[in-house]
Amino acid sequence: MIKANSLPRLMHRASGRPLSLEEHDQEFGLVDAQTDFLGELRNSGLTGRGGAGFPTYKKVELLSQQRGHGKFVVVNAMEGEPASHKDLALLNANPHLVIDGAEMLAHMIGAKRIAICVSRDNPIVINNVKRALHERTRRSLRGPEIELHTPPWRYVAGEESALVHWLDDNESLPQYRPQRPTILRIGRNAVLVDNAETCANVGLIGRFGASWYRQLGTESSPGSTLVSVTGAVDRAHVIEVALGTPVKAILEVAGADTDPSAILLGGYGGTWLSGDNIRLPFATEYLKEVGASVGAGIIMVLPKRACGIMETYRITKWMANESARQCGPCAFGLPALAEDLQQLVAGGKDRKQSLDRLIHRAAEIDGRGACKHPDGVVRMIRTALQVFDKDLQNHINGAPCVGSRDTKFYATVPRHEREEDLVWE
């Protein structure tokens, strides 16, 4: 048994290779099938680790009330965010913990099938999961049937409705859901989608109980979480921290710049915060005050010498290219935002109008897509305009900062694929 108040929990015994089933049983102990999983989950106060931070218990309860015998549990390890590495790191360290959690969730809602989704660009992780599943079939044939699925990697492919759409119909496109909360379905079967890290947390809660789980973290955000730190770091890190740890401490452990000009929280559809906010504890109840949230645990560190407007432009351009092009406001609006930002960065003649147009367009696009992809980009741009106000004024006055002429960039942006090369199925 792992000590309650020590870290790491999720990344326990993480080394270069995943734990085998025997090692896993030794390290974590066996699951007691008689446990009241649902009750423990409720008391644990676990929130989803995929970005939205919705209480997992509520989702599970909603799904357990659905009828039908063909329910699914979908483990989302798509890792759509280029700045996030946590789900893959987790599957490379403790795949059985994730699968345990998924089995417990399946037990709670009465599902017979589990689908683990890893994008197909990660052959090593796929192999690890395959091996883990193979070890399990050798042990027992009982329990839900577990399958591995490998959708193509796209930013929005990890969005839950897109993922379910892929499983249902082989297209990684988000679906329109006017009512919320929605119950997603494969065919007629209700689906519970949970992030891989959430599943691993469920695996811990089901084993050791809610009071064990609550010994780390804060009252309203219990437990620990995986954080991916990128940007001004020596090398991209995934570290496990208790929720409520000051951001500054996380940056120190990760070996990042601890005097940044800004940080981007929550990924490329997240929130820019100015550098002095790193004293805040990393928990949603504190970050809420400055308009941010823990999200999927992504911290992108921007050093003082970099140009925030430039980075925002690069991210926006890539995000615009990753739009699924189903909805007009997203398909046309995001490239338009990127264009306006480019005018600002390059200091074109109409840069003043570009700024006004940018603000106007951002307000117009907000909330008009079928999924939250455009809203995230708008939020990122809006907070960037606030945080990098000084850089912005310099750009408008025709004296762009040194950073924008630098050739070193901090936000990792994958290769732009041409529109016809984007794979959705």
Partner: protein, 80 residues
Amino acid sequence: MGVIRRTGSFVLKVNPILCDGFGHCHELAPELVDIDEWGYPIIKKDPTPFGNVRALQSARYAVRGCPRQALSIERVGDQP
């Protein structure tokens, strides 16, 4: 046109995936639908009372007139 409800209010909703920006809705219900620079509808967010018969009428025209059947009228707030 069915029964005209006079209690509660409604909003017009568009399914952005279906909508192809023909702009008919803006012509049929100008008081509820604005149009953006790419021709896609921006729909008034605050609910309109069902008592506003004219608005309801044009909302219904828009729902029928949409070539992609992307629009729907949704009841919000107090149920009768």
